[in-house]
């Protein structure tokens, strides 16, 4: 370990400021009593929050986002759990290609995924709406979920499962009584983080929603009108607080019962 280095410490703190300050402007201006977002602040008000709550379209968009997010996170976490187990447990031919194929949606520009799903959806004669958005989100969340779950399952003592099978439990019993409790923190973390990814996702929704707006689509539509901005600020502030809470909860859960060594990010990147 190095000794002290104040220059680097100051630089690091400045970098933190660069990361955080822009995001903090949303909550600050959401309580400001003015239509423009400029300094000095004119006065404290909560009316933007009241105005936000009165919008019925917002309620609809919120409900749409929750539906899409719940389905996308449950399905992608389920699919990712099986895949993560395959990678953590077995060595097999075609391992790297399979891994690469599942990771692609996370790596290629999102707009290409969106366009590809749009083309096939329209060619099949289906209507745009929340269904193709959910499909896109499942595709997009699965690699994230898999990274989180692999980090959790890696180093898992699989002889525990074998012991359970030898003692006469069937496959489901073994999963339910042995594997699930051990994977559970990872599974919940994956569900929460996938939900957040889907809840905040914009590009796929932008191409595929048609007329059923999700929450990010709703915000996008409002951002064009300067007089509607204050209530978008209030909504943005609420979303930021909500997201932060869920993500911290997920991080905490993911590291539950993990040794210090493993308690990194749960995200394993290109080794």
């Amino acid at each position: 370990m190095e000794q002290k280095n104040n220059t680097l410490l100051i630089y690091t703190l400045l970098y933190f400021a660069f990361l955080y300050i822009p995001v903090l402007f949303l909550p600050i201006f959401s309580f400001n009593d003015a239509n423009y977002m400029s300094f000095p602040l004119s006065g404290f008000t909560t009316e933007h929050y009241e105005e936000m709550w009165a919008k019925t379209n917002l309620h609809k968009a919120l409900w749409a986002s929750i539906k899409v997010g719940v389905v996308a996170s449950v399905v992608s976490t389920t699919i990712a759990l099986f895949a993560a187990k395959a990678f953590a447990r077995y060595k097999f031919r075609g391992q790297n290609i399979s891994y690469g194929a599942i990771m692609i949606p996370f790596l290629i520009p999102e707009i290409i995924l969106a366009v590809a799903i749009l083309v096939i959806w329209l060619s099949l004669g289906f209507k745009l709406g929340l269904v193709p958005v959910t499909l896109g989100h499942i595709l997009f969340c699965t690699p994230f979920a898999m990274l989180i779950l692999i980090a959790r399952i890696e180093g898992f003592d699989f002889s525990l499962e074998e012991a359970s099978r030898d003692l006469g439990e069937n496959a489901w019993g073994t999963f339910y009584r042995v594997s699930l409790p051990l994977y559970l923190p990872g599974i919940i973390a994956s569900l929460l983080l996938s939900f957040i990814i889907s809840f905040d996702e914009f590009v796929l929704a932008f191409f595929l929603t048609g007329s059923d707006a999700t929450l990010p689509m709703y915000m996008w539509a409002q951002m064009r009108f300067i007089q509607k901005l204050p209530h978008v600020l209030a909504l943005g502030a609420v979303i930021i607080v909500f997201t932060t809470f869920i993500v911290l909860l997920a991080f905490w859960l993911r590291n539950l019962g993990q040794g210090k060594e493993k308690a990194e990010f749960g995200i394993k990147i290109h080794e």
Partner: protein, 294 residues
């Protein structure tokens, strides 16, 4: 027969692995590979009228793409902006990761969670916050005017390439921070101490030991920042104006109001090929570099 299959299955790891993988592979095939294939075939069709598409094979859309100066210049600009963003993000994030890996002794985990936390808040909202900061009536301009330092707002801040680069650097920071930290943290500190004991200066140690050993993280960061930013849509659409427009904004237009699906599909395919070429160049260079080091 069933017994034979069961005993084969019980002994075969690949069979078990692939049955576990099948849902994910089916998903990727149905929701990505087949749609991408269809998108590719659309790039060989022709849009005859607003609703009608001629399905006979032609490479005319690709010729169209390279004959339209606008599209070619947007492709070049997208690649250029992505390169700048990747370079700036790496350069600014590296010292932070270095500090956390080698100087922070307690609660490293907390530092990292705090570094990646802003990344989880909505991308749209983060881009939007930069609009608040850089706008003509935004934070920077209004503060400078109120302080009497400016009489007119700085217009170059907003709706420009610079605005896009600043915003993307902020938005993709976590993608540089994670791989860089992981590779720096893996370095055995005794190697660095040994180099110093043998008389190398701090700078020499960094060039000869630390930097080469952190190369995997640097390469990982380059790829996971460059690839998605080439196709970024939100930032140029909200902050780019005409100066900061990128290729994805035109792709969106072809699938939207311009309604030329084949040309849109061809543009998306060209973007995908560009990304693939850059990925191959970066991976190839890494291979050569690591061979030379070891």
């Amino acid at each position: 027969m069933l017994q034979v299959w069961k005993s084969f299955y019980a002994r075969s790891d690949p069979a078990k692995a692939y049955s576990l993988l099948s849902p994910a592979l089916i998903l990727v095939t149905l929701a990505m590979l087949i749609p991408l294939g269809l998108m590719l075939s659309f790039s060989f069709f022709t849009q005859v009228s607003f609703t009608e598409i001629d399905y006979s094979f032609t490479v005319q859309r690709y010729i169209d793409f390279f004959q339209k100066n606008l599209l070619v210049s947007l492709l070049i600009k997208s690649v250029k902006i992505s390169f700048i963003v990747t370079f700036v993000t790496l350069l600014t994030a590296y010292p932070v990761c270095y500090y956390i890996a080698f100087y922070v002794k307690k609660n490293k985990m907390l530092w990292l969670v705090l570094l990646t936390l802003p990344f989880w808040t909505s991308y749209l909202l983060r881009v939007f916050s930069w609009k608040i900061i850089l706008g003509t009536k935004g934070v920077i301009n209004s503060s400078l005017i109120n302080a009497g330092l400016l009489s007119e707002p700085l217009t170059f801040l907003m709706y420009s390439e610079t605005a896009v680069i600043i915003t993307l650097t902020h938005a993709w920071a976590a993608f540089a921070l994670l791989p860089l930290y992981v590779s720096l943290d893996k370095i055995d500190f005794s190697l660095i101490e040994a180099a110093r004991d043998l008389g190398l200066s701090r700078l020499e140690t960094f060039w000869k030991i630390t930097l080469p050993l952190s190369l995997p993280g640097i390469i990982g960061a380059i790829l996971i920042i460059f690839i998605p930013t080439v196709g970024d849509y939100v930032t140029p659409a909200l902050l780019g104006g005409t100066d900061g427009r990128m290729l994805s904004n035109m792709i969106q237009a072809y699938f939207g109001k311009v309604n030329n699906l084949p040309l849109g599909a061809a543009s998306a395919t060209i973007m995908l090929i560009t990304v693939a070429i850059v990925t191959m160049i970066v991976s190839y260079t890494t291979k050569k570099l690591t061979q030379r080091i070891s």
